[in-house]
Amino acid sequence: MKYIEPHAHMVSRTTDDYEKLALAGCAALCEPAFWAGFDRSSPAGFYDYYRQLTEYEPKRAARYGIPHFCWLCINPKEAEDAGFAREVMSLIPEFLEKPTVLGIGEIGLNKNSRSELAIFEEHVQLALDHNLPILIHTPHLEDKRKGTKLILDSLASFSALDRGKVIIDHVEEHTVAMVLDAGYWAGMTLYPESKCSPNRAIDMLELYQMERLWLNSACDWGVSDPLAVVKTGLEMKKRKYSDEAIERVLYDNPKRFLSQSPRFII
């Protein structure tokens, strides 16, 4: 099944996972910068992480024939100390020149604090300054609805923003409509224990504007499944979607959004 994995944290995964992705038909993979599961102790830790995302990981993926792209930022979980976050952000422009960097992400909110919001807005401005697409993380569980609303309110204040170049990720049934109605793309994350199940995601495809939705596994160091996207394709097949319809969602949609970066060539 030809598909794109638009959100995976492969630095946390094994080489065996790359093999599985290749065997399953993964045609390209995108890796947003995120939290390592613990707070990094210095900006130098982020410098090395950005090197890993832009230099090492594309080579590892290439061994399995998978083009690897990335997004850069400091994630919201490490944005509470705004001074620290700004130091890290000052490292990012150097890496924006790298050939596989698509945009700024995954920025957003975690606990919906004032500091997280300030750093989020500075990232949006960074993306605007460099004319880059934006990938936005919405908070977990009980914080998601409030965080999504705060993000939408904040984005509305950026008059120069092209909403078609922004994807707001991890939507669920209580946030998907507000994101799509505001003109943004929305991402649905397929997790075994939280976020969306494959069949809930397919329900949302049926109920909302399918042409501005993508599916991702967001596989990382936690409970997650790197094959979740292609398994959802299989569930779509069980629900009598044609091969063409499945490919539209799993391949054409992410390709259309990601191709807004001239670097996304597959």
């Binding site: 977990h140 009980e142 998601k144 209580h174 069949n199």
Partner: protein, 93 residues
């Protein structure tokens, strides 16, 4: 598109399994000693929405019931994790 019967054939057993698992979870928590927990209370409050919420909006209604109802940013994040239900102000982190 699949029919109602097709969807039932595909997903009934899974839904049945999850419903029984939820029932057993409620019994399990109540069977054990300990303090009341805001997460458990929030879950019990959300369960009736399975039947009372507007058809087509049940998942949204339950997610809404388990969401933080406040609207302003908090002054400072003192934790990084989430608990799955809004924490009452009276419950310390």
């Amino acid at each position: 598109m699949p029919t109602k019967q097709d969807i039932l054939d595909l997903h009934f057993m899974d839904a049945r399994f999850k419903l029984i698992d939820l029932a057993a979870f409620l019994d399990r928590v109540e069977r054990h000693e300990g303090e009341a927990d805001f997460r458990f209370e929030a879950l019990k409050k959300a369960i009736p929405l399975l039947l009372s919420a507007q058809p087509g909006g049940r998942a949204k209604a339950i997610l809404d019931a388990l969401s933080d109802p406040s609207t302003e940013p908090i002054e400072k994040a003192t934790t990084q994790g989430a608990s799955g239900a809004p924490r009452p102000a009276s419950v310390p982190l």
